[in-house]
């Protein structure tokens, strides 16, 4: 069903609106062949809508959707040849597992003789071979999830769409399934996967690239490392991982936060402007050092292996995750924090998320 040899997905200025309410605003995004792209963003940011535009369940008001080199914008869902797994799995309750998995092959009038082998293959791949004769209601949530994936994979789609596939599972199953998905992707290196999630851990673990969405817009797109180490927007910095976002005045090769003068890379940010300094809490150390921030301890949380300190510095609350302290500082005590110049990223005000 999948046309062209190098499949992938391309959003070309895709906008989707419900009435006057634009829920996806000119999305430009390319998912390469064999790539796992995570669509990451808070609830209501338009992730599912983007996915449904690929599957054909919403019609864009503007823009085009391409699968491979085929423009599918005006094709009905059943002619797009994408595999899709939704949050609720939507396994057909009246069909046994094997018939669920065979559904797509039968619907597409695949060669009858080949169907059992392909069903077996898909069930094998998802570790559900022993459950072929069961009905969906006789399976646990995690097993239903696997069957849903097997069903989508049985039609050998060039593109697999996953909408929060792990959100209905408990935490333990979730991390197991995450590893399974990574394995599946290694076994199917040519399938492009668009993976919708609001969970940054899933995105960071699984994705080759992450597209960060907020308020119907694509905010940022890059590899997990890029987004984590050098986010381009405040929104990315706060949503991907957790970051201290400190308003600073930019000088020449240094910035000022209150009285403190901090050495950071100011390339690309004009001197004299205000900007946001982004520092990850686990890269902030306790004690004197370069780029010292002095303030009073507002809160101390023990988190087992680490202590999370909240320190008020020049009116800003700075978070620091430090290795478990034998004697944590008392509330109100004056302490110094520090961070290495290369661990901080300066975001000029022009690229903040709420521009």
């Amino acid at each position: 069903m999948s046309g062209g040899s190098d499949i992938g997905i391309r959003f070309d200025g895709v906008s989707v609106a419900y009435g006057a309410n634009t829920v996806l605003d000119s999305l430009d995004l390319t998912v390469e062949r064999g790539e796992v792209m995570a669509l990451l963003g808070p609830s209501g940011s338009g992730k599912t809508t983007a996915l449904r535009a690929v599957a054909g369940f919403v019609q864009p008001v503007r823009g085009r959707v391409l699968i491979g080199d085929r423009d599918v914008t005006d094709l009905p869902p059943h002619r797009r040849g994408v595999g899709m797994v939704v949050q609720s799995y939507a396994l057909f309750p009246h069909l046994r597992v094997e018939d669920n998995v065979a559904f797509g092959l039968k619907a597409q009038k695949a060669d009858k003789a080949g169907i059992p082998a392909r069903v077996a293959e898909a069930l094998e791949m998802t570790g559900m071979a022993g459950y072929a004769k069961r009905y969906p209601r006789e399976l646990s949530g995690g097993q239903q999830q696997r069957v849903a994936i097997a069903r989508a994979l049985a039609i050998r789609p060039g593109v697999l769409l996953l909408d929060e596939p792990l959100s209905a599972l408990d935490a333990q199953l979730r991390s197991g399934m995450l590893a399974e998905l990574a394995r599946l992707h290694r076994e199917l290196p040519e399938v492009s996967i668009l993976y919708v999630t609001h969970d940054q851990v899933e995105a960071l673990t699984l994705a080759d690239r992450i597209a960060v969405m907020d308020q119907a817009r694509l905010q940022d797109c890059g590899t997990p490392q890029e987004l984590y180490r050098s986010p381009r927007t405040e929104f990315t910095a706060s949503f991907v991982g957790n970051a201290n976002l400190l308003p600073v005045r930019v000088g020449d090769g240094q910035v000022r936060l209150g009285d403190a003068e901090l050495t950071v890379d100011t390339a690309g940010v004009a001197a004299g402007t205000t900007a946001t300094l982004c520092v990850r809490p686990h890269l902030v150390g306790l004690g004197e050092g370069v780029n010292a921030l002095r303030g009073t301890v507002a809160e101390v949380q023990w988190r087992g292996a680490t202590h999370r300190l909240y320190v008020d510095v020049a009116g800003q609350r700075v978070k620091a995750d430090v290795r478990e302290l034998r004697v944590p500082p008392a509330l109100g005590e004056r302490v110094a924090l520090h961070f290495a110049p290369e661990d901080a990223v300066l975001l000029s005000a022009g690229v903040s998320a709420d521009e």
């Binding site: 069903m1 599957a55 869902p77 059943h78 057909f92 309750p93 009246h94 797509g104 069903r151 039609i155």
Partner: protein, 265 residues
């Protein structure tokens, strides 16, 4: 409401019996009692006999029973077909169109069935639609009357059907017709079955429209009961009524057994 104390439970049961017995059970029991009697002048019927049943399951009465069963079967199947079709079509329409269809299909319920009977009689008494005097006009009127119920119950079931199923099927490459046959209808089966039972029961008991339409060779059982009691044969009428009740209940029981097997989860 959950009542835990033993006393509370007994009180509730007593209340239920006090309300249920006189309102629902007693009239039915009276008919059953009358159907076995030859005389009812005192407080209780007397002269027990099974004569009436012999009459009620023979000759004209038996014919009327067959007529009723055939009419109800035909009407409920037709109603199910049209009602489901209309409900499926209405679901795909924009809101306005759906509301229009909803209103249209509530009409036969809202309008008294005598009026529906009269309307059918007037409409089908001249060529090119000359059905008056044939059994078809009875079946037609019953179909019109019960389709509304089929439409409504199937409509409600379609609204409850999770669109994720159809969408999953479509994304797997299934054409809309394939989705209808292999996914939607199987999932709607329990509701279709319930709707069929409802239509059948309604048609079995229909009297007022039928009275205006039935030809001499197609007299359904309720009409037979009416004419019998109208002539004064109260006990024979009761026996026929019990037969009607029994036949309807038997069919409903069979239908609900199929439903139990067709329901998932």
């Amino acid at each position: 409401m959950l009542v835990h104390s033993r006393k509370g439970k007994w009180t509730l049961w007593a209340l239920f019996l006090v309300l249920f017995v006189p309102l629902f059970a007693l009239p039915l029991l009276v008919i059953v009692a009358a159907s076995f009697a030859t005389n009812w002048s005192g407080a209780f019927p007397s002269g027990p006999t099974v004569e009436h049943y012999a009459a009620a399951t023979r000759g004209e009465s038996l014919e009327a029973l067959t007529t009723s069963l055939v009419t109800a079967l035909a009407a409920s199947l037709l109603a199910l077909l049209m009602g489901s079709w209309a409900a499926l079509a209405a679901h795909a329409l924009p809101k306005r169109g759906k509301r229009l269809l909803d209103t249209l299909f509530v009409l036969p319920v809202a309008v008294p069935s005598v009026v529906v009977g009269l309307a059918v009689l007037v409409a089908f008494s001249q060529p090119p639609f000359l059905l008056n005097g044939t059994r078809w006009i009875v079946i037609l009127a019953h179909t019109v009357l019960v389709t509304a119920f089929a439409y409504q119950s199937v409509s409600a079931a379609i609204v409850r059907l999770d669109p994720a199923y159809e969408q999953a099927a479509a994304s797997l490459g299934a054409k809309p017709s394939y989705v209808l046959w292999k996914v939607k209808l199987p999932l709607l089966l329990p509701s279709l079955n319930a709707a069929a039972g409802l239509c059948f029961a309604l048609s079995m008991g229909e009297l007022s429209a039928t009275m205006m339409l039935y030809p001499p060779d197609w007299m359904p059982l309720p009409v037979r009961i009416f004419t019998a009691t109208d002539r004064g044969s109260l006990f024979t009428g009761s026996a026929v009524a019990v037969v009607l009740m029994g036949a309807t209940l038997l069919v409903l029981l069979a239908v609900s057994r199929i439903r139990t097997r067709a329901s998932y989860r």
